[in-house]
């Protein structure tokens, strides 16, 4: 099978994510590790919807997260997470 290629772009940052899987199904991301190696805690997920990121170049399920009092998007693209870089 052909591999789905990865598209590298300076505005697209793939991140590692920690998530809690609930016993009744479903899950929620609790923290991610940014490219500087630091782990950031997600204090709240305020919105979940399917959305495209024209900036990073891709589409997936978009989690709107509060992180250190800022709003950031976390995209679940199939089985990987990416974020937009300013």
């Amino acid at each position: 099978m052909m591999e789905e290629k990865n598209y590298c772009h300076p505005h697209k940052v793939y991140v590692s994510v920690k998530a809690v899987f609930h016993s009744d199904g479903g899950f929620k991301p609790v923290s991610f590790i940014w490219e500087d190696g630091q782990e950031y805690e997600i204090s709240r997920v305020t919105d979940i919807r399917r959305a495209a990121s024209l900036k990073a170049g891709g589409s997936g399920i978009r989690y709107t997260c509060r992180v250190e009092n800022r709003e950031v998007y976390l995209f679940l693209e199939e089985d990987r997470w990416f974020m937009e870089k300013k």
Partner: protein, 420 residues
């Protein structure tokens, strides 16, 4: 029953749009998605609007396209990604109706007659679908809204990108009839010429002619086109799942190099037959007829078919029959560029079978078992874990894996070219 509400959604420049979404740096440059020149698939598969503006056409070879547009950005196709986006688009469609009929990866008909009281009229649903494709997938679609499939499809072709076009019983004469005859579904090059020779150039010309006259030079299709042009098409949007009534299983390939001998062709027939046979077994079918398709390097082609004495899904049966047909029909005037093998006249594999007194049934059962074993080995260890010795003679030709590289092509509007 009220008037039907049919939508036809067509994603604009599908492959190119998906590539441009994932590569923001080339979004505003002329972009063409092209096949692999090394494997001799080096043609333009799709292009974006800046590339289209330079006159580049789908199907052109890369150097022709580069002549028209030296700064053209050429990217290779990424089928798994397109399949994913096609699936996501279909997910959006199916939140409005269960009657979704895909036409290739990037087009689909939707019958929303039963959902207008929930979601609003056809235009409203069309606009909402466009909005969602844009925000959720990051690409755009054009949607045609009408009371039959033919006009809905015409509508989706009229305004691009990202637009809704409505064709009603009241406006179709003004909207559809001035369009060139070639825009009508199933008016191909040959039909267009036949029509043009008789002074029929627009869809309105077809509609205004006597169906009997059209029939006199186009056969049954004459009447079908006449009814299309007049908006009489009443064919149903085939519900999801039902369209999978498989009529035939086939594979064809443009080979990495021209085929020059019976031996080359036999090798490819084995490769294709293995894939066709494996897919028939996967779906639980046997075939009673095999068809071959051969195209030489000047692109002239012929087909031939032959019947089996009994239904089969054994690859060597297919390959041997294909070779027999080939030998009887080709005299090697030219080297060959592409070949195809297709099993048709399918029956369920577990149907009753008359055993033969004169054939070695024990041997056939053994072959059955061998092929089933090969399927399992390939499933567990990959396609190339086991191969026929004949395929080891040529690295280029033997390295083809048509079963997994098999790409979905648009299905015919009428399956198997059958008239409604």
């Amino acid at each position: 029953m009220g008037e039907r509400v049919i939508l036809h959604a067509d994603i604009n420049n599908f492959y190119a749009s998906v590539e441009c979404l994932h590569r923001p740096e080339i979004r505003n440059k002329p972009v063409a998605v092209c096949g692999d020149p090394a494997a001799r698939h080096g043609i333009v598969l799709a292009k974006n609007y800046p590339a289209k503006a330079t006159g580049i056409k789908t199907g052109e070879v890369i150097w022709q396209a580069r002549q028209k547009c030296p700064q053209l950005v050429v990217v290779p196709p990424n089928y798994p990604l397109y399949l994913r986006f096609g699936r996501l688009a279909r997910n959006i469609y199916s939140s409005y109706t269960d009657q979704v009929e895909p036409f290739g990866l990037d087009e689909a008909w939707l019958d929303v007659s039963g959902s207008t009281h929930i979601f609003g009229d056809g235009i409203r649903i069309a606009d909402e679908i466009r909005e969602r494709i844009k925000s959720e997938l990051g690409i755009t679609a054009s949607v045609g809204v009408s009371y039959n499939k033919i006009f809905a499809k015409l509508g989706s072709d009229m305004k691009k990108p990202d637009a809704t076009t409505v064709i009603t019983r009241d406006n179709f004469k003004q909207v559809v009839w001035p369009l060139p005859a070639g825009d009508l579904l199933y008016v191909g090059r040959a039909t267009k010429h036949k029509l043009a020779r008789r002074g029929i150039s627009s869809i309105g010309d077809i509609a205004g002619n006597d169906p009997g006259y059209l029939r006199s030079f186009l056969g049954k299709w004459g009447e079908v086109l006449w009814s299309f042009a007049n908006g009489f098409d009443s064919s149903a949007v085939v519900r999801q799942g039902e369209e999978s009534l498989i009529k035939s299983v086939g594979n064809s390939i443009t080979t990495p190099r021209d085929l020059e001998s019976d031996e080359d062709v036999q090798m490819i027939f084995y490769v294709l037959s293995e894939s066709v046979a494996a897919r028939m077994r996967e779906h639980g079918f046997k075939c009673r007829t095999v068809q071959i398709q051969v195209r030489d390097k000047d692109l002239s082609s012929f087909g031939a078919q032959g019947k089996f004495s009994k239904p089969t899904y054994i690859s060597s049966d297919l390959a041997e029959k294909a070779m027999e047909l080939f030998r009887a029909n080709y005299s090697w005037a030219n080297p060959i560029r592409s070949v195809g093998v297709r099993g048709c006249d399918l029956i369920a594999a577990d149907s009753q079978e008359q055993l033969s007194l004169f054939e070695n049934e024990a041997r056939r059962m053994k072959q059955d078992k061998i092929e089933a074993t090969v399927d399992v080995l390939r499933y567990r260890f990959g396609h190339f874990s086991i191969q026929r010795a004949v395929l080891l003679k040529d690295n280029d030709l033997g390295a083809i894996n048509p079963k997994e590289e098999h790409v979905i092509h648009p299905v015919a509007f009428f399956k198997e070219g059958r008239l409604p």
